[in-house]
């Protein structure tokens, strides 16, 4: 568990605190999405979680280890992996496999063990065929997957993703999101910063930040039902959720705690009843009599 208690933080050259009195807990195996407007301190907050920054006030404790204690640094950085926004600036190896080996090599593991971890991580993200390629020959999505493999090779318990789908084309975005869900299923806790409300499917908790504080904390269904609060923060609500709200306002008796198209489909079709003749008579549309 990562415990953040009364955390304050400000950069050296500014008096204004970037993080103000943050309380939160991230449990093993959770999938937490962190949203909020630009400059609200999201990235600064996740950099606190693996001791890249140390608290100005308050404490951050990872599995019982205080991030301010230098003895704990190595272990904390193994446990909490970090995938930064720009994969170009975090790939350090001259080939894909050397990059993935960077973390384990820092831990001083023997070459045979490093090899094993590298191969396992590359298979996990589906990039094993690219092992010998130079990083600059990869596409944006592939670079992102390589940087995830580099983090996986450290065998982390938590991974923080900083806008992992930024600048990606739709199919790469899909690949990266599927990877995040897969890691979550493997039991790794996910902390996921995003601006795209459609990335939130799968998150079981939502943290909303504004001006250095956490203003909302709850299940996504819970938080998105407070559309007005979200609007005040300049944040959007997923399109499907909005659609369900509108339908409800039109008088349909629908559950509006819905975040994905699949859930919406289930909800709507349960209200309009079963489709009796599925294309049995190709001349007349099957849904006519239910409309």
């Amino acid at each position: 568990m990562i415990k953040v208690h009364q955390l304050f933080y400000s950069y050296d050259d500014q008096n204004m605190p970037v993080l103000k009195n943050i309380h939160m807990e991230i449990h093993e195996g959770e999938h937490v999405a962190l949203i909020g407007p630009n400059g609200c301190g999201k990235t600064t907050l996740i950099k606190q979680l693996n001791a890249l920054f140390s608290p100005g006030g308050g404490t951050v404790v990872v599995d019982g280890m205080d991030t301010r204690d230098h003895k704990n640094l190595k272990e904390i950085r193994c446990r909490v992996g970090m995938v930064f926004q720009n994969p170009d600036n975090q790939i350090v190896g001259m080939t894909v496999e050397e990059d993935v080996a960077f973390g384990p090599a820092n831990l001083g593991l023997p070459p045979a063990e490093i090899r094993q971890r590298v191969d396992k991580s590359l298979v996990m993200v589906g990039m094993e065929a690219f092992a010998k390629r130079a990083p600059h020959t990869l596409s944006g999505g592939e670079k992102r997957l390589v940087s995830i493999a580099g983090v996986l090779a450290m065998a982390p318990r938590y991974i923080a993703f900083d806008e992992p789908t930024a600048y990606l084309d739709p199919s790469s975005r899909e690949r990266v999101l599927n990877m995040i869900h897969k890691l979550h299923r493997e039991g790794i806790a996910i902390i996921h910063i995003t601006h795209d409300m459609n990335d939130l499917a799968g998150a079981n908790r939502l943290l909303v930040m504004d001006q250095g504080s956490i203003v909302l904390d709850g299940t996504p269904q819970d938080i998105f039902s407070r559309i007005e609060a979200m609007k005040d923060l300049g944040l959007q609500v997923p399109q499907v959720t909005l659609l369900m709200r509108r339908l409800r306002e039109k008088g349909w008796d629908l559950n509006t705690n819905i975040l994905t198209i699949d859930e919406a489909c289930m909800e709507i079709s349960s209200r309009i009843g079963p489709v009796k003749e599925i294309l049995s008579d190709s001349d007349s549309p099957a849904v006519d009599e239910h409309g």
């Binding site: 950085r77 600036n89 790939i91 350090v92 190896g93 960077f102 090599a105 990083p135 983090v151």
Partner: protein
């Protein structure tokens, strides 16, 4: 695309030889090249050709690797051609120029030395992946650690620098395009004007390099980087074929030494 001897993957025996042996051989060959006499010029040339052959390097690839440096070889040749005293072959009194036999030989020799050095360097880099080259250098420099030189940190720095060469080239292109799109004239104009446009390119490139360096440092730290000992994916090990390669190199040096004794 500028090609100064980038690594070309192949399964030749030369590619598989331990980088340390290749580096030491290249240094030895360079020293031999500098002290060569006429017979050795032929022997070393022959040796280089055999090695290129064994490394499956094509003549065309080698040519493109040394092409940018041919100009320098020509310059060395001309310098010696015009400024060496000796038996006069040809003189142009009007221009105070005279060409001597010694100058001709000397020029040809120096140009050969230069090309041979570049070629042996190119063979090394074309048959060795950069990462192996660096870990080889790191191991060879290891004794310097006792003089207080942080050899491992240096190895990491060099590999980062090499890793970011393509990235910064891309960045340079992007900046160039951005300046062109805003109407910058990068190709014509007076010298002062062109110096200014160079600054237009250099300043953003530097800024971006610094920003990248910051992020890179954070990313490295996040993955547990710290100064001091670390391990590697591939440990270098010297085995049978490496000893064979070393033996061949020693035989070649012995051959040169013998030729030197008998020729003089």
């Amino acid at each position: 695309m500028v090609n100064l001897g980038q690594f070309i993957a192949s399964d030749s025996m030369i590619c598989r030889v331990d980088p340390r042996i290749k580096i030491v051989s290249m240094v030895a060959l360079s020293i031999l090249t500098f002290t060569a006499n006429w017979l050795e010029v032929y022997l070393i040339s022959l040796f280089l050709m055999i090695v290129m052959r064994m490394a499956h390097l094509k003549f065309r690839q080698m040519l493109s690797a040394i092409k940018p440096l041919v100009l320098f070889a020509a310059l060395f040749f001309l310098l010696h051609l015009f400024f060496t005293d000796g038996t006069r072959l040809l003189s142009v009194p009007l221009l105070h120029i005279q060409i001597t036999q010694e100058g001709l030989y000397r020029g040809a020799f120096v140009a050969w030395q230069f090309i041979a050095l570049v070629l042996s360097g190119a063979i090394l880099t074309m048959t060795t992946p950069p990462s192996e080259l660096i870990s080889g250098l790191e191991k060879l420099l290891y004794p310097l650690k006792y003089l207080g030189l942080p050899t491992q940190d240096i190895a990491v720095m060099v590999s980062m620098a090499l890793r970011f060469v393509p990235t910064l080239l891309e960045e340079f292109d992007r900046i160039r395009m951005a300046q062109l799109a805003r109407g910058a004239d990068l190709h014509t104009g007076k010298l002062t004007q062109r110096a200014k446009t160079t600054a237009l390119m250099a300043v953003p490139l530097m800024m971006s390099a610094f920003r990248r360096a910051d992020e890179l440092a954070e990313a490295m730290e996040a993955r547990g980087y710290h100064r001091g000992p670390r391990t590697a994916l591939r440990e270098l090990r010297i085995d049978g074929q490496d000893f064979a390669a070393l033996a061949w190199m020693l035989i070649f040096i012995a051959l040169l030494a013998i030729s030197r004794v008998y020729v003089n």
